[in-house]
């Protein structure tokens, strides 16, 4: 009898919890912002251009409906640059028996209700490419297709002033606009085949794809011979003397960059030998085999696995040092003495220093103690620098980054020792930890950040 009662209680609890969960997520996504924390923030006006489907509203400069040459005739005078671009594009001259794709096909005809084209609009004609791109979602993040969703769902994005994080949207809008790679209004495929098309976003400390590629044998050959190359050719075997970003990551022009990733972003250690990763490895070897011997390519990929193992051995040691400090309350400021980790309800009751990927340290790069930041930089900059160098074949940089990893680990260990000594001295003389709260909770930006998201 009692057993039965437990069954009923569990069943009813589940029946209530599941729809309540759905309702909560739906509710949390219905605020003025976007994503899971949409109720916590209001967008900066510029957001409209980076995620037009959600935030763009048409100009209302001119009443009326316009189509085809009508748009071109007027805009030749108003905005000659974009009309010139369009005239040089395939949209203006798509070949025999095909009508030009005019402004109104993408922006709409009603000048009071114009739209900024999104992949949905481009997909009206380029359905295969957009379908490939959307297919990335199956493989999760990192991917182009999920870039915007993951950006606005990042806790630091929701927390920080929106003008500050507007810089994120410029790259993460690769999910919401096709002109990140095929710049408007020429929308050239040849442009996107070249590595320069990627470097506006794929550069900088956590992803030095530009530096590592250009320093590799592939990249050096690109720099020497790009001018003689015919970039109108598809990205397949025999057409190029050296591979570019797109040649390997979007082989054959396939708009799917997420299906071959083994090590993802390098932010976590993965098991490179799962059956799913064996398939990805085979897909890489197939691409490399356009130019190289298959066996040789497999050995190179194995080399990347070994490099990762080396990096993670150090990262785990540094993580362990930090976790010990946290457990002994030696982080200074401690979690209770600094602005709380953003967008976390439980944080108010149980303040907690975030260490490592699974604990959410990717959003804990500000308002933390210096040693946590040291680890963040070791993990995000040195580790990812090493990973990208190894993946792109920049051997010199691999060694340089690994010595940075060594130095960072040694510095973290030294600093941890000093914190321990200081903590013990403090306990002895004060009987408690010095409270630095005032220093960490006050200040012009700190207060502004707390009040605005």
């Amino acid at each position: 009898m009692t057993h039965r009662r437990y069954l009923w209680v569990t069943l009813i609890a589940v029946l209530l919890a599941v729809p309540a969960g759905y309702a909560y997520v739906h509710w949390s996504k219905s605020g003025p912002g976007a994503g899971l924390y949409s109720r916590a923030w209001t967008p900066d006006p510029v957001h409209a251009y980076w995620d037009p489907d959600r935030f763009y509203e048409s100009v209302r400069t001119l009443p009326g409906e316009f189509q085809g040459e009508e748009c071109v005739a007027c805009h030749q005078a108003v905005t000659p640059g974009i009309v010139n671009d369009w005239r040089a594009s395939r949209h203006a001259d798509p070949g025999p028996d095909r009508d030009p794709v005019y402004c109104s096909a993408c922006h709409g005809a009603n000048h009071q209700a114009l739209r900024m084209p999104t992949p949905k609009v481009c997909g009206q004609c380029h359905e295969n490419r957009v379908a490939e791109f959307l297919d990335e979602r199956r493989y999760g993040f990192p991917s182009h297709a999920l870039a915007m969703e993951r950006a606005v769902d990042a806790k630091h994005f929701a927390d920080k002033p929106k003008a500050e994080v507007a810089s994120c949207l410029q790259c993460h809008s690769v999910a919401t606009k096709c002109d990140s790679c095929h710049t408007r209004h020429r929308f050239s495929a040849a442009e996107a085949r070249r590595p320069e098309a990627c470097v506006t976003c794929h550069s900088g400390p956590p992803h030095p794809d530009d530096e590592t590629y250009f320093a590799s044998a592939h990249g050096r050959r690109y720099l020497a011979e790009a001018a003689q190359q015919d970039w109108s050719k598809p990205l397949v075997k025999g057409n190029y003397v050296t591979p570019t970003c797109a040649y390997c990551h979007m082989h054959g022009g396939h708009h799917q960059v997420a299906d071959k990733t083994i090590w993802k972003f390098g932010l976590q250690e993965v098991n490179p030998n799962t059956s799913a990763n064996a398939l990805r490895r085979a897909a890489w070897v197939a691409v490399c085999s356009d130019c190289h011997e298959a066996k040789w390519s497999a050995v190179q990929l194995k080399g990347l696995d070994l490099e990762r193992k080396r990096a993670w051995a150090r990262l785990y040691r540094a993580e362990a040092v930090l976790k010990d400090l946290r457990a002994e309350d030696l982080l200074h400021p401690g979690a209770k003495q600094r602005p709380p980790y953003p967008m976390d309800m439980m944080e108010r009751f149980f303040p907690h220093a975030r260490i490592g990927y699974l604990d959410g340290q990717a959003s804990a790069f500000y308002n933390v103690s210096p040693i946590e930041r040291d680890y963040f930089e070791m993990w995000y900059f040195a580790n990812l620098g090493a990973y990208k160098s190894a993946a792109h074949g920049d051997g010199v940089a691999v060694e340089r980054w690994h010595s940075t990893l060594d130095r960072s680990l040694a510095a973290i260990e030294t600093k941890a020792h000093a914190l321990r000594v200081q903590g013990e001295a403090e306990t002895k003389s004060l009987g408690r930890r010095a409270d630095p709260r005032r220093l960490w909770l006050e200040g012009e930006y700190t207060e502004y950040n707390r009040e605005r998201n």
Partner: protein, 289 residues
Amino acid sequence: MRGFRYLVVFLLPAFAVAGENPPAGKFTHAECVSCHASRDAQLIAAWRTSSHARTAPRADCVACHGATHVDSLASSRRDGACAGCHEKLNRAVAHSYATSKHATIVKLEEHEWDWSRPLARGNYRAPGCAYCHLHAGEHDTRLSVTTWRPFQPEEPSAREPVATRWQAICGECHAPRYVAEQAGVGERMVGIARMKLREARAVVARYREALSAEDRRGLDGLFNGMQSHGRNVRLGVGHQSPDYQWWHGQPALDGDLLRVKGAVAGHERRRLADRARSPAGGNVEPGQP
């Protein structure tokens, strides 16, 4: 008919100048100026007030246009004319532009463009350095920039003419509302970088004197480095480089700020512990004398 004759007579000198071939051969900067001072007086005067003329190393006529009249205009309009010096002077300036979409388009397409055309609306698909900073051949480069003083609010009288100029230049390709929103968010973004710098400065001002000479040097080093990260945000906004706005900018400033505070907090902890050990010891808030 008579009117036409007058017109021809009136225009003759103009035809004569237009038809005149620029002299062949090599020239020094002084020779360029001696001839152009009369025919392009305004241009020479503008160059003289620009930072190219006033600060060393001076970028004179020959530095940008070459020593001959062959291709002298077209080559000076290309990014290569600027990059030679500006990459060496300050990598962040050149690199923040080089990683922008504008620079990407210029780099990939410049060989197809007719660089003999003036730097004006509709003539170029994307702006190179000169398109914006020497727009329409304006040789006074100071008209398009204000001096970066992170701790001084920009005087409206200095800022407004520059902002108006940019609105017009960006507006040659982009819609007015787009230009206004980009300018607005850029200003707010730089404002936030300034806030972080001011917060750090307030911490430094409050605690610096109490530090030991060695700690003080460390703190000063941190604070000086922080200022270059502030400048990166501004370069990222100006050159539209997401990387300089973000990775070389805002999160780098966050790291600087917490390290400035950390340096001070470490010192305060030692001071409090010492004080507690001494007979007059007590519970003192950090930062209080």
